[in-house]
């Protein structure tokens, strides 16, 4: 046995120990990150899932022609402007007679959301024959009732420490007894825009705003970034100091804090070019600036990894540079380009800071219908809701985060599918 064999054998134990240690650290760090992820998801889902349910109240409403001061033959304008909240109030008073005092009367009215009046109005306009009859309808319950129904208010606390007072519990108990309170799937969350009233606020405005903003971002950043990457990789002169400078700047742009892009958008797009603020258009323009470097860098890497033998084959057959680019290089680089694009888009989808600068943080109740309507986006909506004092907004904040996460997962899924579709072996 030679001397070196002994030396190697002596060192083996140490080597294996080091390997074991390294593996142990790897597993530990994996477990830690997994635990953090679980905690995050658990808190969000736990807080957010009640928001997908909403409490409804059943009321028997007498659509009295006297009270509304309209009749079946009134024109639509009169029907539209009639005071329907009166009949709602009346039906509540009828159900709980003998309520005294301003405070209690207001509390009684606040069993149902003020959207009840609009619901009745829409039904009456749709069918004026309802006037003069008594109908029973399900209305959105006010947020406090909803929060209580979801078990978030402890009735054993001292009265001055809870939002719902003892006399309100009497009403609620009676409603429950008569099966007039019911939890249903919360369609409002997906069909309404933002609102000051938690029970009426929904994500549709933010979702549509995000979609329009992403559309603008995608349509602008994808072609510009791919063209820039293709030019830098395939056409730009090598070792030219201008090209080098552009490259360095693109790489640096990827690291610029996003709020700076917001300021840039404010200074240039809004102040100089007069692009309307708070719109998906300006949001998309600013997010394009932010996404461009990400997509350019990913696209360049993808274009660089296309085997030169394929390009050479095409050149050897007489293809021009542009033909080689469009017929071979880009199709083969497409999986990588798409991955970079989706990463950039996902980043843009979750971005808040630059949008604060360009007015997308405004309270927008209307659902935007195009890229020129005032809008807000999902992360900004989350920020706005998380800042609201009403208890019911906490669960809606978490629910909005869940919807945003679902969007991100869906985008990644699309990325994987597209990759699979475009991926070819060579």
């Amino acid at each position: 046995m030679s001397n070196s064999t002994d030396i190697i054998r002596a060192g083996l134990k140490k080597r294996y120990a080091r390997e074991k240690r390294f593996r142990f650290f790897g597993i530990v760090s994996l477990l830690i990150s997994f635990a953090f992820l679980l905690v995050l998801l658990f808190t969000i889902v736990n807080k957010g899932w009640p928001a997908f349910q909403q409490t409804y109240v059943k009321l028997d409403v007498e659509l009295s022609e006297d009270l509304l001061k309209v009749n079946k033959d009134s024109d639509e304008d009169a029907l539209y402007s009639a005071n329907y909240s009166k009949v709602v109030k009346k039906s509540l008073q009828k159900m709980f007679p003998g309520v005294k005092g301003r405070k209690q009367k207001r509390a009684l009215k606040n069993i149902v959301s003020n959207s009840a009046a609009y619901d009745i109005r829409d039904k009456v306009i749709e069918n004026p024959d309802l006037l003069g009859t008594t109908q029973s309808y399900w209305f959105l319950a006010k947020d406090d009732i909803d929060v209580f129904m979801k078990g978030k208010i402890d009735r054993h606390l001292p009265e001055d420490e809870r939002r719902i007072k003892d006399y309100q519990f009497v009403w609620i108990d009676k409603l429950i007894e008569e099966d007039r309170l019911e939890k249903r799937f919360n369609t409002v969350l997906f069909s309404n825009g933002d609102s000051r009233e938690p029970e009426q606020s929904g994500l549709k405005g933010a979702i549509m705003g995000s979609l329009y903003t992403m559309l603008v971002t995608l349509l602008l950043s994808f072609p510009i970034a791919v063209a820039a990457a293709a030019y830098l990789e395939e056409f730009a002169p090598q070792n030219n100091k201008w090209v080098d400078m552009i490259e360095i700047n693109i790489n640096n742009l990827a690291a610029v804090p996003s709020i700076v892009f917001g300021l840039l958008g404010l200074a240039i797009y809004i102040n100089y070019f007069g692009v309307p603020r708070s719109t998906p258009l300006i949001g998309g323009l600013v997010l394009t600036l932010m996404t461009l470097p990400t997509i350019i860098i990913a696209s360049r890497a993808a274009i660089k990894s296309v085997p030169p033998s394929i390009k050479e084959a095409a050149v050897g057959l007489g293809a021009s540079k542009v033909q080689v680019l469009f017929q071979h290089t880009l199709p083969l680089a497409m999986p990588g380009i798409l991955t970079g694009t989706i990463i950039g888009m996902a980043q843009a989808l979750g971005e808040t800071a630059p949008l604060l600068m360009i007015g997308m943080v405004a309270f927008v109740a209307e659902v935007p219908n195009g890229i020129l309507d005032p809008a807000t986006v999902m992360p900004v909506q989350i920020y706005l809701w998380s800042d609201s004092p009403e208890r019911a907004f906490t669960e809606r904040t978490s629910a909005a985060i869940m919807v945003l996460l679902a969007f991100l997962v869906a985008m990644n899924l699309i990325a994987i599918l597209l990759r699979k579709k475009f991926e070819r072996r060579w």
Binding site: P237, Q238, P307, S309, I310, K311, E312, A313, A314, V315, G316, L317, G318, A319, S320, Q323, H328, L332, R424, R425, W426
Partner: protein
């Protein structure tokens, strides 16, 4: 021509030659022979392509020094020499493939049928349609076999309708000796074929454009001896219609397929002669040292 016995294992094949070609240090004395111009017969009467005073630079480094060479019509010219001697670079001069390398500069007169191929009026796209190329590593496009062969024809608009294109693809595959093997699988990916089939597919793809000259850059170095034999047979058939210039590391291959052989050394053209003469009675000491295996 293509004697299969010469390529069976046990005989020195292209691979083993490649492996032994490095380390010229061991043979310093044989290697350091002075080169004073080209000996032999670099010029022919019926030249298809010709170069005069060809110098090629990569940046500041000169890769080819004053090469004068003719490639005769319908002949196979083999270019041999140790690695880095400039034979592949010279081959790429002939269809302006070096244009794609930004730091590469080509000097000298180069003609195809008497026309200057580096002239201002010459379009590299047209030139590459007339001077096709087959590369060292089979490089089919990641498309179907049919689309691979049809690529050049579609690019240049050589077929006006689908049935013409079908005929062209079939004819090219037949000429490349691949049709029988793939006729039922034309829509399968070209990358799924074996190495030898892929290389024949690349030849079919080059032929489909109907070039006048085919440049082959070590076309069999990645192939086994049997696939090599098939390609060599194919070259022999092709020479009746095309002019072929082939770069090879296998001296057996050069001896089998070519009519004339050019020996390159350190960027200089040392000797050009009839293949038989180069391998039996070389004029230059360096050529003799190389073919007898004293170095390289």
């Amino acid at each position: 021509m293509s004697d299969i016995l010469n390529t069976v294992p046990g005989m020195p094949s292209a691979d083993s030659l490649e492996r032994s070609e490095v380390k010229p240090e061991n043979h310093r004395s044989e290697f350091d022979v002075e080169i004073n111009g080209t000996v032999g017969k670099p010029f022919v009467d019926n030249a298809k392509m010709s170069s005069r005073n060809c110098n090629v630079f990569y940046g500041d480094k000169q890769a080819i020094f004053d090469v004068d060479l003719d490639i005769g019509n319908n002949e196979i010219l083999a270019m041999i020499g140790p690695s880095g001697c400039g034979k592949s670079t010279y081959l790429r001069v002939l269809n302006r493939m070096n244009d794609t390398i930004p730091i590469c500069r080509v000097e000298g007169e180069h003609t195809l049928d008497g026309e200057d191929i580096y002239g201002k009026k010459t379009d590299p796209v047209l030139l590459r349609a007339r001077v096709g190329m087959v590369f060292q590593k089979p490089n089919p496009f990641p498309k179907s076999i049919y689309d691979n062969v049809a690529y050049g024809a579609r690019l240049h608009g050589l077929a006006s309708n689908r049935s013409e294109l079908d005929d062209l693809v079939e004819a090219s595959l037949i000429k490349a000796g691949l049709f029988k093997e793939v006729k039922d699988d034309l829509q399968k990916p070209g990358t799924g074929l074996s190495g030898g089939q892929q290389q024949r597919l690349c030849i079919a793809r080059a032929i489909a454009v109907d070039p006048e000259v085919i440049l082959m850059d070590e076309p069999t170095s990645a192939l086994d001896p049997i696939a090599t034999a098939t390609i060599e047979e194919l070259m022999d058939e092709l020479k009746s219609k095309y002019t072929i210039a082939i770069v090879t590391h296998s001296m057996q291959q050069a001896a089998r397929v070519s009519q004339r052989t050019a020996y390159f050394h350190l960027g200089k053209l040392v000797e050009v002669n009839e293949t038989d003469k180069v391998f039996t009675n070389p004029e230059h000491q360096l050529t003799e040292n190389y073919i007898t295996g004293r170095f390289g």
